[in-house]
Subunit: 336 residues, 2 copies
Amino acid sequence: MEKQTITIYDVAREAGVSMATVSRVVNGNPNVKPSTRKKVSEVIERLDYRPNAVARGLASKKTTTVGVIIPNITNVFFSALARGIDDIAAMYKYDIILANADESVDKELNVINNLLAKQVDGIVYMGYNVEDEMIKTIKASRTPVVIAGIVSDDPELYTVSIDIRLAIEQMTERLIQSGGKRPAIVTDSDRYYVNEVHRIPGYKSALAKYDIEVDDDLIIQSDFTDDEGPIIVDQLRSAKATGVVVTKDDIAVGILNALTDSGVKVPEEFEVITSSNSVLTKYTRPQLSSLQYPLYDVGAVAMRLLTKIMNHEEIDQRQIILPHKFISRQSTKPQE
Amino acid sequence: MEKQTITIYDVAREAGVSMATVSRVVNGNPNVKPSTRKKVSEVIERLDYRPNAVARGLASKKTTTVGVIIPNITNVFFSALARGIDDIAAMYKYDIILANADESVDKELNVINNLLAKQVDGIVYMGYNVEDEMIKTIKASRTPVVIAGIVSDDPELYTVSIDIRLAIEQMTERLIQSGGKRPAIVTDSDRYYVNEVHRIPGYKSALAKYDIEVDDDLIIQSDFTDDEGPIIVDQLRSAKATGVVVTKDDIAVGILNALTDSGVKVPEEFEVITSSNSVLTKYTRPQLSSLQYPLYDVGAVAMRLLTKIMNHEEIDQRQIILPHKFISRQSTKPQE
DNA sequence: CTGTTAGCGCATTCAC
DNA sequence: GTGAATGCGCTAACAG
């Protein structure tokens, strides 16, 4: 399995120059006479020389590679975010090592250590929780890390996200304003941190505004497997919910379909509002109203922030909150 | 931006051994006395030493990294495939560099060269076409490449796929058998090679079996943007199609929804069958009948094949065809 | 079992 | 402008 065999020395010899000169033209160093630059370039072309990025990385201590940690590849939430990251990374000539943490905290740590071993220049982390040990590892490594999709209160951390607490509060308010006195919330249970610190508080504060008492039966956590929709709907109905805020689009689809399958009219009898505005929302009938989570932007901004840190540019803000909106489709009543 | 500073020398000094010994314990070489192994391990732990994978890669000429080239991150087709790849890669301790080719042949070449420069140990390629220049690059590099999702007639190439021609033929037959004399086919236009070499021939051979003449108006290529569903449906209806084979799930969803939105009853008046059996098929109403493309398996088998090549194991078959099935849901009439 | 010694391919001073 | 020399951190013979 001999890989690339042509080295900088081969080029140097063929071109009748030293390897230092070849290195210079490869790296666009201006201190090369145009004529020799041309000569060397020709040889590079002819020999199909391709600089060994590994050797380069060792010598320069830069790999032009960033690690992206995601909880689960198959999560629709991810693809839009990934595109944002990828676009900006490509723009700045960084490659991406995609590391799937498989929804497990242990693996996350494993994965981040792995990335550090690979000497990535930076990391975009989209995890579940901001675990203490994670933070420790992040801080100990001198590798820049940007956390995407989670708000943290640790001022040292770089984060890009929307104000989730506020968003959930507003979504809940919408349900209340359109007449439902018993709005429910269904969260994906695996994101403990976000649930406890942002979502549930947001939900409760909306209720508080309208003097509605919290009923724990209306707070449902779900791991969601494909056919869980009907189960959740049963819980929702026996708790006499009038509408539901859902934090994950595929769960919302499951609930919506279970609802209509069982003859409940959405939105007339029951409102559903979801959180990611992924493509799924447009594929259902009725189409799902959703928080417009600017996924692409979060990814792009996170990556952009990371490049700034890697380039030692000045950072005016470590915690970036992006604005969010709402898209009213057909699963909620029209707002007046 | 000082990265990891602790080297194998630091560990060696602290443990009072040579760096070779440290290297041995790190790599699990059995030729180390248990007591010194223990001593070294403790120092590693204490210093939080993490072997530099870049240096390792340079010295050993192995990076334990594989490149995965995909046409488009946001394609639902991909996520299942990626999971198959990722699972097996993780099993064999390989990291993945995800390279997005952005649906462009130029970028594909660019991307593959980039991957080769990074000295990946192997590549899984899920491209559109098997371009000549791609093949040349693949063969010139001594890096193993497995092509996933496309059948090729080049016996030197490693490929993992289903028999697409046959699958399309069978899908078309199903539509014919359930009474439709004018089955149409809608393909994503960007996959030229697959369309010309596998899909259209499969479609035509089904027609031939039933002595149905080919009507070019029934062969539609679409780039598909979100709201193109109604347009395609218009074409379909003015061509008097009785049903349609769709090659991409999101296009199928668009068509299905446009159909029902305009009052056409599916499957009674019009049948739809799609090709990837992605999660989308279950999210629509009616649910989409689909070719069961074993995406996960294709990804997993491709990755497994790649590991075999990388390990110089014996390969008994370069072109692997995986079996496919069909899932009858609600967008086609029940088969008798 | 353990230490010594070469490179791996390149970026990078430092001279000239 | 250009070349020679050094070292990045590690693996892999090769001795002992």
